[in-house]
Every structure is written in C-alpha cells, then in structure tokens.
C-alpha cells in the first residue's frame, strides 16, 4: 500500500481523497494555487505545496509543477480526482515515468476511452448495444448524408474527441445536415484539436443510466450497481440517484452485466463508470468515465462500499476485496450538486461565503469545500458542495432531501438549490417521467 499520496486537485474531491487516505493510514500532500492558500484541502492534508498562480493551466493543469510537488514531498502515488488531469494519458504516463503510481487506469485505457470512436469499438467488441450510426468517423458530407439516410432523422452529429456535453449537435433533416456538417467539424478542430465527427441516432426522451464498475490486476471485474443521472441542465448533471428507479423488467440486470463485461474484456483496473442512454426497454452504450465521478456518493450509501478507498487499493495492486455476489444494495440515495451559480441562468456566482450552515441528522451526507468565510474562486468549476440523502426507499429519500435543502444556508453567493428544490418537488420527479432534456424543457415552460 502507498505511504503518501499527492492529490492533484482541489475542492470537495480533494477533501474526499484526504478522508479516504486518513482511514487507510496513508499520508497526504495537497497542492494548491496561490488563491487556494486557505482552502480546506490545504488545511487538512498532512503537507501542502503551492504549485502556481490561480489560472488552472499554470497550476492544477501544470504537469511539471504537479510532478515536482510529488517529487519534493516524496509521494509514491498521485490521485487526480475528477476534472483537471484525471483523464490525461500524458499525465498518467509522466507519473509512471517518475516512479510513482497514477491512482486510476493505465494511460492506454485513458486513451482508449478518451476517444469516443475507440470507446465505441471496445464496447462493440464486448457485445454492448450501440446507437445506430456511423461505425467510425465520417470523412465528408457525401458519406455523412449516405449514413444519415440509413440511420434516419433526427440524429446527432458528434465530435469524436468531445465529451461532457460539448461538441454535439442535433440534426433534424438532410437540409440541416448539409448546412451544419462543415461547421461542426471546424468547431471540433477548434475545441478538441481534431475535426473527426460521427453520427448517431438521436433519442428524444432518453434517461441517463450509468453503472459504477471496478476491476483489479488479476482480472476481477464487478459492477457496483447503477445510478440515474437524467436530471441535467445543459448536459450537466445536477441531481443523481441510486439505484435507478423504475427500469423496465430485466433491464437493470442487463445494463449492469453489460458494464461488467466491458471491464472484463478490456482489462480495466481501478474504478470507473459506463454510461448508457435508456429509452423504454432498450439501452445503448454512451461512453466510459475512467475516473471517480462527482456522483459516486449515492453508490457508496446504498452499497456500503467506500469507492475512493477501493480505487486506491486497486491502484496499489490489491485484489478486489469482494465478489460480485457480495455487492448488496440497501435503501435509496439522492444527491444534489450545490453549484455556486445563478439557479435560473446558470451563470457562475463566485465570491465570499458570508454565512454557512449545513443540514444534518440521520441519512444526510455533506461533501463540501466551503464554510463561513470561504472564498468560491472564479477560476474553477462551480461545484461548492454535495448534499446527499439516504433513506430506506425513494419516497423517503426525496422527503429527507427536501427537508435538508430547506435547512441548508449558504449566504454571500447564489446556489443552484432553489432550482433543485422545485425539481425534486415536481410530480415528474416522483413519477420518474423525466429524461435528459427534462430540465431544459421545464425551464422553458416556466411562466416568467
């Protein structure tokens, strides 16, 4: 097992990794940019190193600075959290080259799943269902139109190197396709450095269901249950839950085992997520997130498994500590992301937190990077805290979460909570009639 882990991240996920390390008896090193000097992760890590100015490119994304910080503190592993360098294969390679362990999959797996086309190829090889579409990049408009006629409209034009909801465009008919093909490709070059695009059938009201999985170096491959993350605004998840409610008969098992099959067939090591779109009783492979995810707590609460500790153990070469049959779910968990943003316009709301009081009591979990007097920086993403409720059943979990949101006081900055309160209280949420574009449509239909 590792002696000392450097955490190449900030915010709540850095605190999450510090807590996991503390329980494993591993020392921690925090890195921070100049504006994060007083952040919680700096305070609670055993050691800390300033690695650069506030701009992420020069600090949290600065590979030489992060590696040097690990070097001078003699860390033997680096945990990348999510975002920043978490899915950067070059970074993972540099970590290995310096004799340290990257707490995540191999650089090869990062590359394989970082590119949507090679990810789809791996999924197809493992027998996972894919959305009808081009089986690879389409090189020119003519080829594109030809494939589109086979797939049918509406369809989705996607940048192969895109992700996180970026680089995608819905196309309703052939005319539109002819108009947007070149633009989409050019945008992809600008945004991702590659102009490769591909086509997929567009689902109008799919749900986003993802399976948490884990693999070890000895070939063990398990799933740890699934989550529903359909509540998205502008392709960003803001409410997540486990298990996924109201799945069609048999679908849950098929989805879970599909994910485990992909892990087994690719030899993936550590934890990750396989994302699917679900429409009625069909499901389609979307992508793999080769890292710990923001929404991992809901899975932890229903399984009792500490996923970050598991990730660290697997990265250290330990065997999977449980069998698939030992993964048992109990109860229901729902998470809301407390983003520092305008709840209606989604514009970031950085600033000083002048008042703060977190809810508590049974079944309430808070993963937070803020406190009274804390500064929410304008340089980084807007996730300030996560509030998770756990109860024996979904209805109780919703009630518990609504109560906890009422207790939550965050002053000085705006947060997404007012929006999430309305969404959780909406009959569509209780009835599970939502889908990935539910929030966008719901917002458009709001009076005023």
């Amino acid at each position: 097992m590792f002696r000392k882990i450097l955490i190449a991240n900030r915010g709540e996920i850095a605190m999450r990794v510090i807590r996991a390390c503390r329980e494993l008896g591993i020392r921690t090193v925090a890195v921070y940019s100049e504006c994060d000097r007083h952040a919680l992760h700096v305070r609670f890590a055993d050691e800390s190193v300033c690695i650069g100015p506030p701009q992420a490119r020069q600090s949290y994304l600065n590979i030489p600075a992060v590696i040097s910080a690990a070097d001078i503190t003699r860390a033997d592993a680096i945990h990348p959290g999510y975002g920043f360098l978490a899915e950067n294969a070059t970074f993972a390679e540099a970590v290995n080259a310096h004799g340290m362990t990257f707490v995540g999959p191999s650089p090869e797996h990062l590359r394989q799943f970082g590119d949507k086309l090679s990810a789809k190829a791996a999924a197809r090889a493992a027998g996972l269902p894919l959305l009808p579409g081009s089986h690879g990049a389409v090189d020119n408009l003519d080829e594109c139109v030809e494939v589109a006629r086979l797939v049918g409209f509406p369809l989705m034009l996607k940048a192969a190197a895109g992700g996180g909801g970026k680089g995608m465009r819905v196309v309703e008919d052939e005319d539109q396709l002819r108009k947007v093909f070149a633009v989409t490709s050019a945008e992809a070059v600008a945004a991702f450095g590659s102009g490769a695009v591909f086509l997929e059938r567009f689902l109008r009201t799919p749900r986003h269901v993802e399976v948490q999985f884990a693999g070890d170096r000895f070939g063990a491959a398990v799933h740890v249950g699934e989550r529903d993350c359909s509540m998205q605004r502008r392709h960003q998840k803001i409410i997540e839950e486990a298990p996924a409610p109201n799945l069609a008969e048999g679908l849950r098992d098929r989805i879970r085992s599909a994910a485990a099959r992909l892990v087994a067939s690719t030899g993936y090591v550590t934890v990750g997520t396989c994302e699917f779109l679900v429409q009625d009783d069909e499901f389609f492979f979307l992508e793999v997130n080769p890292r710990i995810q923001v929404e991992h707590p809901v899975t932890e609460l229903v399984t009792g498994i500490d996923l970050v500790q598991l990730q660290i153990r697997l990265a250290a070469g330990e065997p999977m500590p449980f069998a698939q049959s030992e993964v048992r779910l109990r109860g229901h968990a729902i998470e809301v992301r407390v983003n520092a943003e305008d709840p209606w316009k989604f514009t970031p709301s950085p600033g000083r937190v002048t008042g703060y009081h977190a809810p508590g009591g049974p079944g309430i979990r808070i993963d937070s990077a803020i406190h009274e007097g804390a500064m929410v920086q304008p340089y980084y993403d807007s996730l300030a805290a996560k509030l998770v409720a756990y109860a024996p059943d979904r209805e109780s979990a919703i009630r518990k979460l609504l109560g906890a949101m009422d207790e939550y006081v965050v002053e000085g900055i705006r947060t997404s909570l007012p929006l999430q309160k309305l969404l959780l209280a909406d009959p569509a949420f209780s009835a599970v009639t939502f889908h990935t574009r539910f929030i966008d449509e719901w917002l458009r239909s709001r009076p005023g």
């Binding site: 007083h38 919680l40 305070r43 100015p53 600090s59 030489p64 590696i67 040097s68 001078i72």
Partner: protein, 151 residues
C-alpha cells in the same frame, strides 16, 4: 488625547453598545468600528478558520514567502516548484553569494523540476543580502529564494 484616554473611550463606547464612532478634536480624528452587533461588519475572513485543537501534522516543506518576508520587500522568488540548487552542478561554483551584486536577467540559481534543470534569472537589480533556502532543498511556487537590498 493620550493613549490611556483613547483606550478608555473605546472601552466606554463598546460598553455602550456602539457599533461605530468617530471622535474628532482639532486635527486629531479617531474612527472606530466594532465587529459584530448583528452583522455590521461583513465578516471578511482573510485567514482560514483557526485550526482545531489538534493541528494537522507539521509540514516538512519550508514555509512560503509570507512567513519570512524580505524586510524591504525585494526578493527573488521561485517561478516553479522543485529543488533549489545554488550551482549548475555539484562541483561547480555557486552562481551567487551574499554581498554579490545581481543584475536583472542574471542567472542566480537552478530549480530542478521533473529532472529538468531550470535556470532562474533575477527579475530585479540589487545586492544579495541573504540566501533564504539551503542548497538541494525543496521550494514551492512563489517562495522567496534570495533577499536583495538596493545596495
């Protein structure tokens, strides 16, 4: 008004529950605002929360610049994280010594990061008054390395 009187004035105002007051006498003016009382003051906390009783284990890295600021604010700071070396190689002479005159652009030390030897150039002119880091010790981004006087 002498210091004793001032102290008493402040104490009295505080006792009276005053939130803020100005006292003027001739060219002398004193303005005081008490923190709290509802929340007159935005509770601006530049420092982090005070540490809980048991502080985390000591940090082995040297404290950053602000812990021991160069007396007149003129210092050469490390532009990167890494290991500080005063000379280009173990046998070579050091780049600079206390008392040396340094010019802007002159190489003053090396900071090794990822096995790369990065030459650090001074961004100011001056005379080396103090060398703040021992040879072969780790340094953080922005840490003071040399204190300079205008000499």
């Amino acid at each position: 008004m002498d210091r004793k009187e001032m102290r008493e004035l402040v104490r009295e105002m505080k006792r009276a529950g005053v939130g803020e007051f100005t006292w003027r006498s001739g060219e002398f003016k004193l303005h005081v605002r008490f923190a709290g009382e509802g929340s007159a003051l935005p509770a601006v906390v530049a420092a982090p929360l005070a540490p809980a009783a048991a502080a985390p284990a000591a940090v082995p890295l040297p404290p950053k610049a602000e812990a021991k600021p160069a007396a007149d604010g003129r210092a050469i700071r490390s532009p990167i994280v890494g290991t500080f070396y005063r000379s280009p190689s173990p046998d070579a002479p050091v780049y600079i010594n206390v008392g040396d005159r340094v010019r802007k652009g002159q190489v003053v030390c090396i900071v090794e990061a990822m096995k790369l030897m990065n030459q650090v150039e001074s961004d100011i002119d001056g005379v080396v008054a103090e060398i703040l880091v021992e040879n072969a010790q780790p340094v953080q981004f922005g840490q003071d390395l040399f204190r300079l006087t205008s000499g």
